[in-house]
Each structure stands twice: as structure tokens, then as C-alpha cells.
């Protein structure tokens, strides 16, 4: 304590800069991780949150949801095969008309609101409670100024709907999702007849003639670009993490190595290695924790300043986990040099006594 503190006081610039580097590195890790989490989330969160075990697609679709087309005849056939555990599903990408402004891109998820099941509601009604022309929208739509009970108008069909409820974690290809009932009719948006992408099914797996049945996980994996996107985000995050952890622990290793002479003096006057190590560990812990605190504060501040459409996602578990790992590895870096000092004679550490 005595040593650690006095060294800080006498070398303010050196340790100030070191703390600054620590803050910058941790900030970078937090920021990039949050951004890539956010982007990965916005890409496909809605898909992961679909309420089903199995997805049934047309055979020609080869497992890709948006290539699949099922008409009313298919639906009837499937209903006969599957019974009550069945629920149709269609994705339609369109836009909302905003007065005097650009349109807002949205994705309509057309479902049978009676069958689909409950989604997480943050405000207003759930799917089952919807009346004519009422919809449930993702919260991200609020960023564009929409509120509960607002009337929205589809820019291509001029269909008018009322937002009766808000759900969360339903973003599809960076667009807010709007759950609509089949009675509103977006399933016939592209063609004159009803066309669905899939039928959802809860129950045991079956072999269906003319149709493909696959799990939701498989369906997500076959979204075009999904694994490429998630894979590159993952790689970016892991590389950043490994490099920054490595750089910061090597930094502490080198900084501690520079104190070899000093450790020699301390050993010569009888200090045990643990006494020296304690003081170094205290310093490393102090700088790392300070860096952790200030960088998460800076991260929080930046998030407040950023435009709301920027998707950032970072859990406190990740902050704490990252901090813990940095702490351990920085200490390890410092201990590595102490260990080297512990092994040699005090005199060698001091250098020749000339």
C-alpha cells in the first residue's frame, strides 16, 4: 500500500497515461462489442423470437423462408395433416407513410392472431385481443415518433391501421416488425391470391410429402447472409477482445519488468517477494478498475449522444465479465515479471555493484 501509493504520487504522468490507455482500450472493446451485438440483433432478432418449434416451407424453397410460397390450397392440405397446432405466417416488406417526411421501412408479419400465441408486450394489447385493423408493432417504431393508438398508413396499399400494442425484440433486417392479422390482407400484397411463406407447427416432427419441415434454428441459419453476418461480427469481436487483452497484459508485463532494479533493492533490504507482488497487484487492480469505471461511463455517455437508430447492445454481465478478465490477465502479466525477479539473486536485479 505504502509503496504502491507513493509510486503513483511521484509518477503521476506515467500512471495517468497508463490509465488513459486502459480506458481507451476498454472503451473500444465495449463500443465495438455493443455495436456488433446491436447490428447482429437488428439483423435477425425477430426471427429468433418467432413462436414456433417447426417451420414448414414449400419444397422448392430449399429451406429458405422468404423463397417459400404456400397458397390457400397448401394451407388447407397442411391443416388436414397437422390439425389445430398449425399457424400460417407471411413476411411483407413495405413502408409507412409519414406526413411531410420519408417513408419508414417496416416488415409486416402476417399471422392468424388467434393461433399465433402471445408475444412479449410492453404496452397495450396482445395479439389475441386485437380488433379490426389493429396491429402490434415493435417498440423500435417509437423512434420514428409513433405512439400507442396512433394510426399508421401503409405507403403502397394505403391501408390504415391502429397501433394497439407494442412488443420488443422484433426487428427484421433492421426494420421494425408489425404484426398484422390475415384479415388486413398483406399476404396478398404481391399477388392477387393469398400467399404465405410458412406454416408454423408445434409438436413432434413429421415427414411431409411436398413440403419441407425444419426447426426454427435451421430456418434462421438459412436466412441469406445470416451466418456470414453473424460470423463476421463474432470474428470481429473475438479478435478485438484477444488483441486488446493481449496488448494490455503485455503492457503491464513490460512496465513491471522496468522495475527490476527497484525490486533488487527491495530484496536486498529484506522484502519478501510477496511484499513486492502485493504492491504491484494493487497498482494493476487500481488502474484496471479505474479504466473499467471510466470507460463504461464514457460508453454510457456516448450512447446517450448517439442517434437513436444506432443499434447498440451491451449487457452489464458483459461489462463485468470483460473487466474481470482484463483484471486477471493484467495481473498475470505483471506477476510474470515479478516471478522472473523472484527467481534471480537480488544483486543481479540491482545490477553490478560498481
Amino acid at each position: 500500500m505504502f509503496l504502491a501509493w507513493n509510486e503513483f504520487r511521484r509518477n503521476k504522468l506515467r500512471y495517468g497515461l497508463l490509465s488513459l490507455i486502459m480506458i481507451a482500450v476498454l472503451f473500444l472493446v465495449f463500443f465495438i462489442t455493443a455495436l456488433s451485438n446491436g447490428l447482429g440483433y437488428a439483423d435477425s432478432a425477430a426471427m429468433s423470437n418467432l413462436k414456433t418449434e417447426y417451420v414448414i416451407l414449400s419444397e422448392e424453397a430449399e429451406g429458405v423462408l422468404i423463397k417459400s410460397e404456400l397458397n390457400n390450397d397448401d394451407l388447407d392440405e397442411l391443416f388436414d395433416l397437422l390439425g389445430e397446432q398449425y399457424s400460417p405466417f407471411a413476411i411483407t416488406v413495405s413502408g409507412l407513410e409519414k406526413v411531410n417526411e420519408r417513408t419508414v421501412d417496416v416488415a409486416y408479419f402476417t399471422v392468424d392472431t388467434e393461433r399465433y400465441g402471445d408475444v412479449t408486450i410492453t404496452e397495450g394489447k396482445n395479439l389475441r385481443e386485437l380488433e379490426d385493423n389493429e396491429v402490434v408493432a415493435d417498440e423500435s417504431l417509437k423512434r420514428f415518433g409513433y405512439e400507442l393508438h396512433d394510426t399508421i398508413k401503409d405507403s403502397r396499399t394505403d391501408i390504415e391501421m391502429t397501433i394497439a400494442g407494442f412488443t420488443e425484440d422484433h426487428v427484421y433486417s433492421h426494420m421494425p416488425v408489425i404484426f398484422t392479422d390475415a384479415s388486413i390482407g398483406f399476404q396478398s400484397f404481391y399477388r392477387m391470391e393469398d400467399t404465405y411463406n410458412a406454416v408454423f407447427y408445434q409438436g413432434s416432427e413429421m415427414d411431409l410429402e411436398h413440403y419441407d419441415m425444419q426447426t426454427l434454428e435451421d430456418t434462421i441459419r438459412t436466412i441469406p447472409g445470416y451466418s456470414e453476418t453473424q460470423g463476421s461480427f463474432m470474428m470481429m469481436k473475438s479478435f478485438l477482445f484477444i488483441i486488446s487483452v493481449f496488448v494490455s497484459s503485455v503492457f503491464f508485463y513490460v512496465i513491471t519488468l522496468q522495475k527490476t532494479h527497484q525490486f533488487g533493492i527491495l530484496k536486498a533490504i529484506g522484502a519478501q517477494t510477496w511484499y513486492i507482488a502485493k504492491s504491484i497487484l494493487l497498482q494493476v487492480a487500481f488502474i484496471t478498475l479505474l479504466g473499467l469505471m471510466l470507460s463504461s461511463l464514457a460508453f454510457y455517455g456516448i450512447v446517450q449522444l448517439m442517434p437513436e437508430e444506432m443499434p447498440v447492445q451491451l449487457s452489464w454481465q458483459l461489462i463485468v465479465g470483460t473487466g474481470g478478465l482484463f483484471l486477471i490477465l493484467n495481473m498475470f502479466g505483471a506477476m510474470l515479471s515479478i516471478w522472473k525477479v523472484a527467481k534471480i539473486d537480488a544483486l543481479e536485479a540491482i545490477g553490478r555493484m560498481e
Binding site: 505504502f2 527497484q262 533490504i269 529484506g270 519478501q272 517477494t273 539473486d345 544483486l347 555493484m353
Partner: protein
């Protein structure tokens, strides 16, 4: 008064190996230092004087032979006991000053007290006493970088006495001091040795200090002989 031996050196040799050739810097050294004895070692530079002090002070391990401090064989001890020996029984005064750069003068002494795990208030008292005796009271809040060479050396001396050691090992302690201050320092070492029944070995080049010592040894080519 002179009775118990504090330090016994038995057949000590020390080799330094650089690459494939080794040089024998210390050759069969035998020496006994008793309580109350103040010993001087003189000799040409490069003869092994500093090496001898380092071996005695457990900063280097001897290649052969034994060193006993207060009847304990030093190099057979555990690492921990080794440090305790250094912290409690040996006071080092190095050839060049070796102060901790970021501690002020009082801090240097406080550190020794802390490492030796001695009582805080007695340490404080002892530090004040040492600083006033060495004319350092005015400089107590200064850092090594702000001190002159002589002042730094006096701090190193104060530090060596701080832990109340059984034996003081001083490597040319007066080299950077003027002759008045130098003599005062040697007198102080002598006084400490006599009044508290300690032992001291001082390597020196200064012939004028030798009258303050009880015995004078000459180191030559790694061999130690009584003058």
C-alpha cells in the same frame, strides 16, 4: 565484552562464469567477526571486496563453503528465512546509492521498518534519531533526485541502521563524502558497533579511517589476509 561470534565465514569461494570460462573471485576465505568488532577490508579494485560483502549479505550464494550469521548457516535457509535474515540482521550500505526513487527520506526509513515488521512508533523514534545524527532532518521530505551524492549516501547509512541489524556491511560508504563527513560516518558506525554490541565490515580506500577499526584485512586476488 567481545565474545560470541556474529559472523563466521568458512572456506568460502565464489566463481563467476561468463560463457565457458569461469573466474574464481573469492578463494578460500576464512573470517570470524565477533560482537563489538569493527573490521576494515582494503585492497586494490577488482580484488573481490564487493563480492565478499554480497556473499556475506546473502545477495549472492557462495560456490563453496559456509557463512554463519548468529550461528545460522545462511545459504541453507529457506527463501523466507533468507529475507528475514536480511531484513532483521543485516544492514547494507551499497557502494553507489540505491534508494527507492519515489520515496522521500523519511519514506526510505519507514519502508525498512515496514519490511522488518517492526513497531511503528519505535520506528518513527529511531528514524528521527538517525536523521538528526546524520544531519538529515532538514531533508526528510526530499526525494532522492533532490539530494546531493553525499546526502544520498547518508540516507543509505541511516537506512542500514534502521532495522537494528546484528551486522553492518558497508561498501566504501565514504567514497562520495568529504573527509569531515566521511569520518563522522565511520565514527558513527564504530559507535553503533561498540555501544550496541554489533559487528561491522567496511570496505574502504581511505587509509585515514583505519584507526577507527579494530582489525584491518587486505584482499588481494581473491585471498583475504590479516594486515
Amino acid at each position: 565484552m567481545m565474545g560470541r561470534s556474529i559472523l563466521e565465514i568458512k572456506h568460502v569461494t565464489k566463481d563467476f562464469g561468463d560463457g565457458n570460462s569461469t573466474i574464481r573471485v573469492l578463494k578460500n576465505i576464512n573470517l570470524t567477526v565477533k560482537q563489538g568488532e569493527f573490521i576494515a577490508v582494503v585492497g586494490p579494485s577488482g580484488s573481490g571486496k564487493s563480492t565478499l560483502l554480497s556473499v556475506i549479505g546473502a545477495l549472492l550464494t557462495p560456490t563453496e563453503g559456509d557463512i554463519l550469521i548468529d550461528q545460522e548457516v545462511v545459504h541453507l535457509q529457506s527463501k523466507k528465512r533468507f529475507n528475514q535474515l536480511r531484513a532483521g540482521k543485516i544492514g547494507f550500505i551499497f557502494q553507489s546509492d540505491n534508494l527507492i526513487p519515489y520515496l522521500n527520506v523519511s519514506g526510505q526509513l519507514k519502508l525498512v521498518n515496514q519490511i522488518a515488521k517492526n513497531n511503528k512508533s519505535t520506528g518513527q523514534k529511531r528514524a528521527n534519531e538517525l536523521l538528526s545524527r546524520l544531519d538529515l532532518l532538514q531533508r526528510r521530505n526530499n526525494y532522492p533526485a533532490e539530494l546531493s551524492g553525499g546526502e544520498k549516501q547518508r540516507v543509505a547509512i541511516a537506512r542500514a541502521f534502521m532495522n537494528d541489524p546484528s551486522i553492518i556491511l558497508a561498501d566504501e560508504p565514504t567514497a562520495s563524502l568529504d573527509s569531515v563527513r566521511g569520518r563522522k560516518v565511520v565514527e558513527m558506525i564504530s559507535q553503533e558497533v561498540k555501544s550496541r554490541n554489533k559487528a561491522a565490515i567496511m570496505v574502504t580506500h581511505d587509509e585515514r579511517m583505519l584507526d577507527l577499526c579494530d582489525k584491518v584485512y587486505v584482499m588481494k586476488d581473491g585471498c583475504l589476509a590479516r594486515e
